[in-house]
Amino acid sequence: MRQYALRRLAYLPLIAALVSVITFFTLRMPWAGDPVTYMSTQNTTVEDQERLRKELGLDKPVAVQFGLWLGDVLRGDFGETFRGRQPVLDEVMRRFPATLEIMVLSLGFTVLFGVTFGVVSAVRQDSFADYGLRVFAVFGQSVPDFFLLILLIVLPSIWWNYSHPIGGHVSIFEDPIRNLRLYVPPTLLLAVGGSALMMRVTRSAMLEVLRQDYMRTARAKGLGAYAVIVRHGLRNALIPIITLAGNHLVALFFGAVILEQVFSINGLGQFFLTSAAQRDFPVMQFLVLYSALVVMGLNLVVDLSYALIDPRIKYS
């Protein structure tokens, strides 16, 4: 198990390098769009453009550019943004807390509601609650998340004259109440689609488990409902749930972009969108590399957790 984890960890730099190479060269394809043109105005002369190109290091051959970039990265320097010439790392760190909070809250809500609804609906199969929750699941998977978020802006202001705050990140440590008022309602809505899917997966996994002989044994031993359903039941249904939670976190990268867009929150999602639109290469390279590392680390954690949940699974 430990060896397996170490071997997987050893792959990380390799894949990170591969991702970086692909990103670097795709971005610099002749047809991919020239950052200098995006930064030019009507008054920019050709000489200005040439000077700018030189300043940004874009005049060198791509392979040389890559060598320089790689050298800097290995020393922990991720370069400066093309626009504004600020250190990429500083700009990222400034926006990081907002996006992290969006993802953590939304994933938390997804798992909380998805698993609870799924268990209830499986244990009370064909009851009124089960029926209602299944209807929720069908609708939850059909409504676009950005539509729900827009409704959060539009409807409360019509019905209760309450307008949800737009923009302006407040640190949760400075002003917890304002922070939660800003983030809880939208992340709750962002979790609707995910929890609908998670509910369906949990429900079918639980139904499978509930039919097993050991569940009858557990009940026959006189165990309480909680012990039977959670310790014996849910624990054995966890594998598909964990897999889905991992996939959902990756999907939340997109969700965070949408949420930040609707509520004008200056997070990493917005940063990625604007940098991509302006071909701000250093920012895009950093964010692609970063997200690849996060996702790979996450997959490793998910895979290792299988062995913790089910001792029959062994890695060697």
Binding site: T26, M29, S142, V154, A276, M284, S291
Partner: protein
Amino acid sequence: MATAAESLRSFDTVPRERPRLVRLARLARQHPTGVFGLVVIAGFVVLGIFGPAIAPYDPRELRTGGVLEGPSRAHPFGTNALGQDVLSRVIAGARISLIISFSAVFIGGSIGSFLGIVSGYYGRWVDYLIQRSGEAWAAFPSIVFYFMLITAFGQGVKTIIIAIAIGALFGGSRVLRGATMVEARSTYVEAARALGASEARIFFRHVLPNVLPLTVVLMSTSLGGAILAESALAFLGIGVEPGTPSWGIDMSGENLTVARLGYWHVVVFPGLAISLVVLGANLLGDALRDIWDPRLRR
């Protein structure tokens, strides 16, 4: 004692296969939500094809009435900030959504099915290659992947279709791979092999006809997701060209700004249109999957 003739006659009491229409009607009664989905998707297709002819106004025409009028008899869904008729834009928006979602699902679904069948039947390195690429793709945040495609192919309808098709492709290949593996290892295939049937005969006569209908199920189940993906990209302004009547675009930019000021009808109706069509696609997909193979239900 029963004679041979009598026992032959008793076969008559076995109900004969009912006419096709009767069987369809019965299927419809068993899956009312599926019928609802089918009706919605049929409506979606009709609007996508004939939309501009049906719409009361030209979707791009400015000042069809007042600006930002609420729903009224002349404008059932109201007008937007440019005075365009929202109902006409919702109707016309079906087209781009239809084109993108259907082509993406068709392309991705058929390539994915092909790869899945090959990978499930042939196995070995082909299987390894396809499955590992699928995992690598799933591990990559979709928005990052999409931007790589934009830089490679440029922004436009083609790129959106490719992006969504790749998603459908890997999802589909997994399902068909599993189904093919089950069929290839079943007893009747073993029996055919024992009778001396060639590999090609086994594949084309026995395995393929049993897994191919799954392709249709697969395409219908990925349709909802494709429509959602297209509208989300349009909403972010990285999808179809600005100005195209598109549900996602109509819920962003200027329209979103005025919606924040209380003009809800501008964004709510396109949003309802997406939700309804995706709901229809999901219900239809679920019903088709149940009919084809109840074991796949989840």
